[in-house]
Amino acid sequence: MRTAKKSPPKLTRRNYSKIFRPIFGLLVLGYILWRLYLVLFVQQTYTAEIWVRLLISGLIIGGVYALIAIGYTLVYGILFMINFAHGEVVMIGAFAGYFLFEATRSINVASAGNPPLSFSDAYPFISVVLAFLIGMTIAAISGFFLEKIAYRPLRKAPRLIPLISAIGASFFLQNAAQLLFSPQVRDYANPQAISRGAGWTLMINDARVIVTYTGVLTFALSIILMIGLYIMVQKTKLGKAMRAVASDKNTAALMGIDVDAIISRTFIISGALAGAAGVMWGLHNGLVHFFVGFLPGIKAFTAAVLGGIGNIPGAMLGGMFLGLIEALGPTALGISFQLKDVIAFVIMIIILIFRPSGILGEVLSEEKV
């Protein structure tokens, strides 16, 4: 090791990889474009309504990924650590919403109908708002305590230590949920007005395309939350403090910013967004179990990297991009859906070859990295 460290870098090998990587990227890109051409112009198997359905699926899941990805990016921007337990915060939000809907469904309201209407069917709007509030609150609280218990004591430790602590916290939360709520898969009890699968019908080429209420709710709410977050970070005092802590903790502290409090608030905000994503996930997909946050969490993390980790608009863009690629990719390239994730990750790698710090990522200084 010692001698290897001192020997000068081999220039030839460096140049080789520098040339090889873009060539590899271009080759794969060429292959993808060729497949795309085949499917779109030669075979023409799929008509407009199929593409619209796929687009809708992609936008909805992309919105959820984007919300979760923001949580990764916010925390990374400030602490330069990957909060691997973020997916579990999503799961906690989904469970909170689940129990709220179960509660509102079990309350009957006085009405002329027989059998009497449950609260969630009689007041769907109020119960959905309540579910989001509860989901976001509980998830925000768990985000707050996650930071306090798992990360704060390790603030001064080397960078890898909090990472391992995050993985441990992730396992802990998963298993705690499994013991508390049983490993059983549960179904969200949506209010009847926005039951899954119901929606507006569009007619395209004489084929019905259903735009589900839950899908529209998910997409619209994720956009609203993202805009809200962006305004908060850019315009408010808290946002300004967060940006200050992100760019330099020590100087921010010298300027009278309570760094610990800002970090806590960052976790609260990212937890709240994750909670909202969890409730959306439940409302739209209907499934909730202890493992539900894991996969979206990992996907959102890659989306955050794709967009440029630490960059908020980048996370939004990365999430949407990943969702769309997942939904459209296999069909557009005529490849089996089993390889959906492979396609998404290959495209990601190509983007990272040409833009190593992500789509909107900035080149970080050595000190930050």
């Binding site: 008509t47 359905r53 898969v185 899954r196 939904a327 089993q338």
Partner: protein
């Protein structure tokens, strides 16, 4: 400094890798060393046996292993199998002063989990047989480990045809094979239901993929058109993109080889994906109360399969009553393999009772080789789910499935 960081990262990475493949590469535990009771028959028999004897000391229990997914989306299968097995063990009572014990472990239904559980059982002197594994993928991974130490497997539900085609001495099972089910399903769709264009989906795992491929091949040979044969990623919460793509081919039906978790999501997504007129045809992996509860109105008119329905016998009624009383739910509700799980456990216990010997030191000696052969040699065993004779390849049942349609929120047998 950078090298050191890289080095630490490498170590962490290796540790994660090691954690991800639990014990899969670990050397299999040595054959149990038999403590020889001097001047006894048992020692001669144990010495002559291919694998030696399992020794159960006084105060220990005779353990029957059970390995199945008990967490995650398919947990119902494992919980059901454990509940049925526990009743089988309770029914077995005391034997020569020893109690039977069911050791149910969670293998997640995955090959890695299957190998980990198999290593655990192989290391335990007192595990004499395994009433599992439930899933084909886990069974494949576990077989070579049991083969080394001579623990017989008797699976209530692993149906991949290749499981019994590898010349394994220890692998046995009671359900029909995927081959029998796939062929029967294809014939049923073509002849009885009159489908001509069918899309075949599977979850890419040992069980689902094998089943869907056999069904598709049979369907094609009958003269039907296979419009799509495709795998999906298991464990997702939204399959509408793949369904939308299949909808473009306008098939009559969608055949799915896989488990409830994915089956439920597929059926629930079919409406929004433009497949509301397409009929969903599932398999024995999608049958169960879970499917009904989680698909609701979307599940109406879907087809499923089960092992042949157990005939009504006093023994079955007694089991049903015991199961309902102990677990608060009817057998067959969680999974279609309740009765099979009870039977495989009792079959293993019956072989143990036949060959076990009480040694001079008060320990129970169970020759492992004889145990393996005893399970393979089961003839006309009358269980609650049918009469079983094990064939030399390890299949103990060659009958085809019963098909069911969902009508008014309940399963109705159609053949």
């Amino acid at each position: 400094m950078k090298f050191r960081r890289l080095f630490i990262l490498l170590i962490v990475f290796v540790m994660i890798l090691a954690a991800c493949t639990p014990a899969a590469e670990e050397p299999v535990v040595e054959e149990p060393v038999v403590e020889e009771p001097a001047g006894d028959d048992t020692s001669a028999i144990c010495d002559a046996d291919d694998f030696g004897c399992a020794v159960v000391a006084p105060g220990q229990t005779i353990k029957i292993g059970m390995s199945s997914p008990m967490t995650g989306g398919n947990a119902a299968f494992g919980i059901d199998a454990e509940q049925a097995g526990l009743i089988a063990v309770a029914d077995a009572g005391e034997f020569m002063g020893f109690q039977f014990e069911l050791v149910a472990e969670d293998d997640g239904g995955t090959p890695e989990g299957g190998a980990a559980v198999a290593n655990l059982f192989a290391a335990d002197q007192t595990v004499v047989g395994v009433a599992g594994h439930l899933f084909s993928g886990a069974s494949f991974a576990a077989m070579p480990i049991y083969e080394e130490v001579g623990i017989p497997m008797l699976s209530p539900s692993a149906t991949n045809p290749d499981l019994t085609r590898q010349g394994s001495r220890i692998m046995n099972r009671v359900p029909f094979t995927d081959e029998a089910q796939g062929e029967a399903a294809a014939a049923f769709m073509f002849n009885e239901l009159g489908f001509r264009r069918v899309a075949f989906l599977h979850d890419g795992q040992d069980y689902g993929k094998g089943l869907a491929e056999i069904a598709a091949a049979t369907f094609e040979s009958l003269g039907g058109e296979v419009v799509e044969l495709m795998g999906i990623t298991p464990g997702e919460a939204d399959y509408s993109p793949v369904l939308s793509t299949i909808a473009a081919q306008s098939p009559d039906a969608l055949y799915f080889g896989g488990y409830t978790q994915e089956g439920v999501v597929l059926v629930n997504n079919m409406g929004t994906a433009g497949m509301e007129d397409v009929i969903f045809f599932g398999c024995d992996g999608t049958f169960g109360a879970d499917f009904l509860a989680r698909t609701g109105a979307n599940g109406e008119g879907t087809f499923h399969a089960t092992p042949r329905v157990p005939p009504e016998t006093p023994e079955k009624d007694a089991f049903d009553a015991a199961y309902t009383e102990r677990w608060g739910q009817a057998p067959g509700e969680l999974s279609p393999f309740t009765w099979n799980s009870y039977d495989t456990t009792t079959m293993l216990i019956s072989v143990v009772k036949e060959i076990a010997m009480l040694g001079a030191d008060g320990s129970l000696y169970i020759p492992r080789g004889a145990m393996v052969d005893g399970v393979r040699g089961l003839t006309n065993y009358v269980g609650i789910s049918g009469t079983y004779t094990c064939f030399p390849d390890g299949d103990c049942n060659v009958e085809g499935p019963t098909f069911w349609i969902v009508e008014d929120g309940d399963f109705v047998a159609v053949n």
